[in-house]
């Protein structure tokens, strides 16, 4: 099993943010922000030094908790600091973005990093649908068409035009081509049945985030079944789990940290106005439904309306055992880990990276 460090680049004073989304730009201090990005880059370098094999990037907008609205920009910066790790774009939100632009970014990143890119395709959390004025009801179809267009743009050797349902481009001729041929590895980050099946039918890896191991097992069972039906078998690197982590010297210390948080749990990562959330979810599902009853892996779509707490909490032994369960029960080959819990300083995060690197990583590499 490999470990991946999520390069969140969180704003240093994110623990002072109000419990809303979007975070007003008034909370932004330029000097603190500059330092926060430098700290984040340092964390990525340190993670590489401690043996993490991937650095990952996600796209989140209008918040300093994960301050990478353009993950390609961040990945390019990290590519110059970290020369060994894979750069996992987990990833660009296809419904929001121009697929041809995404294809260009992927081509550039693969060249800048000399062939270390891992591509990811995501629909995005419900709040992100508001960012660029995309109709939530169109998100799934835009995702599928975007993926097809990106893959064609990165492989078609001659210029072409594209007559899609949501995208029309009369000239597509992406440059540069990826270094990795015919394509860099690609991961579909999802929980929904139809997109998990799409991944299986199209030879894409699977990425799932923040769900308990029981739900992960249900999702990967379906994925592996559909892959077999499609005539192929995923490699370990093609099954990725993203989880939140807090590792301490002892289980007791880890629990003490958790109970010391306001409310005894991490604050909600993305808090939409309730009515807004309901409208977005209804639009995504094409029907009225209750956000709280949507289960991961259902056809209704991705649901990250509430923080699901800490997925890995405890001593190095405890965490290694927790991760082993994901490996043994779900076939997870890459653990993509979010260390920047609210309230942790940069030095504390560095301490966790070191502890994980020294005490957990050697064990999970044996799985």
């Amino acid at each position: 099993m490999k470990a991946s460090y999520l390069g969140a680049m969180g704003y240093a004073e994110r623990h002072l943010f109000p419990d809303v989304w979007p975070i007003p730009p008034a909370y932004h201090d330029p000097q603190l922000s500059v330092q926060s990005y430098q700290d984040g880059l340092t964390e990525c370098e340190f993670a590489e030094a401690m043996g993490f094999e991937w650095i990952s990037f996600s796209e989140h907008h209008y918040s300093g908790r994960i301050a990478t609205g353009n993950p390609a920009v961040m990945a390019a910066a990290v590519a110059e600091r970290c020369k060994k790790v894979k750069l996992a774009m987990l990833g660009p939100l296809l419904p929001l973005n121009n697929p041809v632009r995404i294809a260009e970014e992927m081509g550039m990143l693969d060249n800048i990093s000399a062939g270390r890119l891992i591509m990811g395709f995501l629909r995005g959390t419900p709040n992100e649908d508001q960012v660029y004025g995309v109709n939530p009801a169109e998100g799934r179809e835009r995702l599928f068409e975007g993926m097809d267009l990106i893959l064609k743009a990165l492989t078609e050797p001659q210029p072409f035009s594209w007559e899609g349902r949501y995208y029309q481009f009369r000239t597509v001729s992406v440059w540069p081509r990826p270094v990795q041929q015919p394509l860099p590895p690609a991961i579909m980050a999802t929980r929904s049945d139809d997109t998990v099946k799409y991944a299986a039918d199209n030879g894409l890896g699977l990425g799932v985030s923040f769900v308990p191991v029981e739900q992960m097992e249900r999702i990967t069972d379906k994925y592996f079944t559909w892959c077999r039906q499609a005539g192929w078998e995923p490699q370990p690197d093609q099954v990725v789990y993203r989880g939140s982590i807090y590792v301490a010297e002892t289980d007791r210390a880890a629990r003490a940290w958790l109970s010391g948080l306001e409310g005894g749990a991490p604050r909600r990562a993305i808090a939409l106005e309730p009515n807004v959330s309901r409208v977005v979810q209804a639009a995504r599902a094409g029907e009225e439904f209750d956000l709280r009853r949507v289960l991961a892996g259902s056809p209704q779509g991705d649901v990250v309306g509430r923080s699901l707490g800490i997925n890995f909490l405890g001593s190095p032994d405890t965490i290694a055992n927790q991760m082993k369960a994901f490996h043994d029960r779900c076939g997870v080959g890459v653990m993509d880990l979010f260390f920047q819990q609210p309230g942790l300083t940069h030095q504390e995060v560095m301490g966790e990276i070191e502890l994980f690197g020294k005490e957990v990583l050697p064990r999970i590499k044996e799985f």
């Binding site: 064609k152 050797p157 210029p159 072409f160 035009s161 594209w162 007559e163 899609g164 009369r170």
Partner: protein
């Protein structure tokens, strides 16, 4: 999807030239567009959309369109357009014929060649087709021609057309009923001389649009690049989520790009749609 626009009435006529006598359907006004019709299933919405903008002539070809002599057809197409410059469209088997018309020796057919303003090849299988499986039923062929056969309300009509094609393609000297796959393959795949056709692509002189469905199972992925690279003034348009019979699955997208190309030829790459939301 129901066509919410008023229906277009095509007027039938008979036309004779070059030793051939063929049925034709005519509608619309404006720039002349001649459509060579080898497959008359699933095309009506596409034809109607074009007829709302152009003067459309749908030339009905015999079952094995690839076997019709290009020289005779080009005399007919020129006559239909009344001697004026025109755009020529061919889909699937008829696309291969349209390409052969465009490749006629200018010394022998100079006038016809000069009148051809734009060539539009829809799902051409002239070069690099996917080899057909050894034996397929008409139902299986129908599934091979479409990305989503289950979405077609008149799939039975396509199956019947393929069945009729097989029944009518008997050699005469034998039993008269050819195996289904062989008959359909001869219709959709190029006639003998495909390699020579590929080698002559550089001789096409008019602006050319090649439209391919992104889920076409009859055309190899490298075909698009070959057309683009070898035909001097060629543009390739991929119609997302459509199979081989693009007009049946995404008629609006196909008519949009074809109409734009007829109107603007190679300058169709310039976006003319306004994107102002509010002044």
């Amino acid at each position: 999807m129901a066509d919410v626009m008023p229906p277009i009435a095509f007027t039938p006529r008979r036309i004779t030239a070059g030793g051939l006598s063929l049925n034709c359907r005519e509608a619309g006004a404006g720039l002349p567009v001649v459509i060579l019709e080898g497959l008359n299933w699933g095309q009506s919405r596409f034809y109607a959309a074009l007829a709302r903008q152009f003067h459309v002539f749908v030339l009905e070809l015999p079952g094995a369109a690839a076997a019709v002599w290009a020289g005779g057809i080009s005399e007919i197409t020129g006559q239909l357009a009344g001697g004026a410059p025109y755009s020529l469209i061919g889909a699937s088997p008829a696309a291969n014929l349209a390409l052969r018309i465009a490749l006629q020796d200018p010394a022998e057919a100079e006038e016809e060649a000069e009148r051809l303003e734009a060539l539009i090849l829809i799902s051409p299988t002239a070069i690099r087709p996917v080899p057909a499986p050894a034996s397929l039923t008409p139902e299986q062929w129908a599934g091979r021609l479409l990305a989503y056969p289950e979405r077609q309300p008149d799939l039975a009509g396509l199956v019947a057309w393929l069945d009729k094609l097989a029944a009518n393609s008997g050699s005469g000297a034998d039993s008269g009923y050819e195996p289904d796959a062989a008959a359909a393959a001869r219709c959709f795949l190029p006639a003998a001389g495909a390699a020579q056709l590929e080698s002559r692509l550089g001789q096409v002189r008019c602006p050319t649009l090649v439209a391919l469905g992104s889920r076409d199972k009859l055309v190899t992925p490298e075909a698009a690049a070959l057309y683009r690279r070898q035909i001097p003034n060629c543009h390739v348009s991929l119609v997302y989520d459509a199979g081989h019979i693009i007009a049946a699955e995404r008629p609006e997208a196909l008519s949009n790009v074809v109409a734009d190309f007829v109107e603007n030829r190679e300058t169709f790459v310039v976006t003319r749609q306004r994107s102002v939301i509010n002044p």
